[in-house]
Symmetry: C2
Subunit: 274 residues, 2 copies
């Protein structure tokens, strides 16, 4: 089996930075998983004593809290600050940006529109910075149902696809007087997506390595499926199914922004051994 | 010959307003033609003594100057104000708006991008309000040649087509960090375009009545041609060619925003008499 890696794949700047912070801050707590990759979260717990806590109420005085890459709601951060805990912010700077934009623009009287998934931690965090009720839409169809004002500010979840953002933006431009559009899609995400798109055209089977709750990993799978119907998402080498490779010659591999190299290497080795 | 008029056609709000002003301000001068319709300009001269002057230098003290619907460059207006002339502003409020936006946004440090035709008086006027060098593009191809900054503000010539504005906007959103997009396309233009599009699907031959230098009239012709290859632009009934109607049953008529009803009526009568 010939293996081709995507030109760009795996860890982005924000994830690398967060993991370095976690490795340096032994025995700390992250509020929600630091990144969307359960295997890497386990490794941090086993090797560095970094535990995950879901609820701010459970954090005791004297503890050291790391803010996850996706950020947390403003209220949770404010609550933590009232406690006697040390806080280290590992929010990706590309996520801090839409938080700041949403706060400033809502104060300036712009109606906030967020293109993203309401249930995703990043979006929950960004929403919480709006001083007015933001509109969150994950598709153009949802936007068409919403009542929008004359002056809007649009931000995007960092891991969304640019062509979908443009659909949303085009609707707003033709339905508002002023559309203030902030392209907060992360370049690393775009680069990984572009590389996955190219590679998926050249291969017989495509493996996307990443967490099943990772938004950008799911996007990579969707993009791969557009060109290669034999595309599969695996969290690690144990998820590989030998039948996927029967009669195939070239296998492409890409990985989400929160997938560590050590997992990608194991997946590669197992496929190579076929 | 059955005749069908477009649902919406002809005079827009800004043109109606300008003509009312001109009729009330007898023996005045307009700097450039008040509207883009030579026949109506002649009528205003013959009946109300309203003359056209192309050069501010030619305007003598004591005269009454009307600013045309498309507006004039800021420098020309300032020069006029230094003279002993009375000024009445008939600039369409939908054109004043992009002038104001361009002035304010350029002062705020946004790079100004104008979607429009460099040689059109409206665009020349809007350009002149930018405190920095604006980029004027009439197509996506032209935009791709330009060096654009991180923060841009986009306005449109009022008579442009929305789908072309969206192409320009989409490029900017994916190439800038912040795109501040002002949809300055005039609704009357959009309504006339939409009506022309619908009507051109139902007829055998389509007549667009309007000035040959009128931007919105030319757009109507382009839209009509997309659905009806037998579409023609006429300034008045004398431009009609009988051969266009041979073997045809239904004729559609639309008219540019600066075409008066009295010209449309004459065109209609002549076609009806066939």
């Amino acid at each position: 089996m010939q293996i081709k890696l995507a030109k760009k794949y795996g860890f982005c700047f924000g994830v690398k930075r967060a993991i370095q912070i976690a490795e340096k801050t032994k025995n700390s707590i992250t509020l929600g998983p630091l990144i969307h990759n359960p295997k890497e979260i386990s490794r941090l717990e086993v090797k560095f004593g970094v535990r995950v806590e879901e609820d701010t109420q459970m954090i005791k005085n004297g503890e050291h809290v790391i803010i996850r890459t996706h950020g947390i709601p403003k209220g949770d951060l404010e609550y933590l600050k009232t406690k006697d805990v040390q806080i280290t912010d590992a929010t990706c700077p590309y996520v801090t940006k839409p938080q700041e934009i949403v706060e400033f623009m809502s104060k300036e009287g712009y109606q906030i529109i967020i293109f993203g998934d309401k249930t995703h931690p990043e979006v929950k965090g960004v929403m919480s910075y709006s001083t007015t009720q933001p509109i969150v839409v994950s598709s153009l169809e949802e936007l068409k149902e919403a009542k929008i004002g004359k002056k809007i500010a649009l931000v995007s979840q960092t891991t969304k696809q640019a062509n979908n953002l443009l659909q949303i933006a085009s609707y707003l431009i033709t339905h508002c007087y002023e559309a203030r559009i902030f392209n907060t899609i992360c370049n690393a995400t775009l680069d990984n997506q572009e590389s996955a798109r190219e590679l998926s055209k050249e291969v017989d089977v495509m493996i996307v390595v990443g967490g099943k709750t990772s938004s950008n990993t799911k996007q990579l799978l969707n993009i791969a499926l557009q060109n290669c119907t034999d595309s599969y998402l695996v969290e690690d080498e144990n998820d590989l199914d030998m039948r996927w490779f029967e009669g195939k010659n070239i296998c492409g591999i890409t990985a989400g922004a929160s997938t560590p190299d050590w997992i990608i290497d194991k997946v590669k080795e197992k496929i190579q051994s076929l």
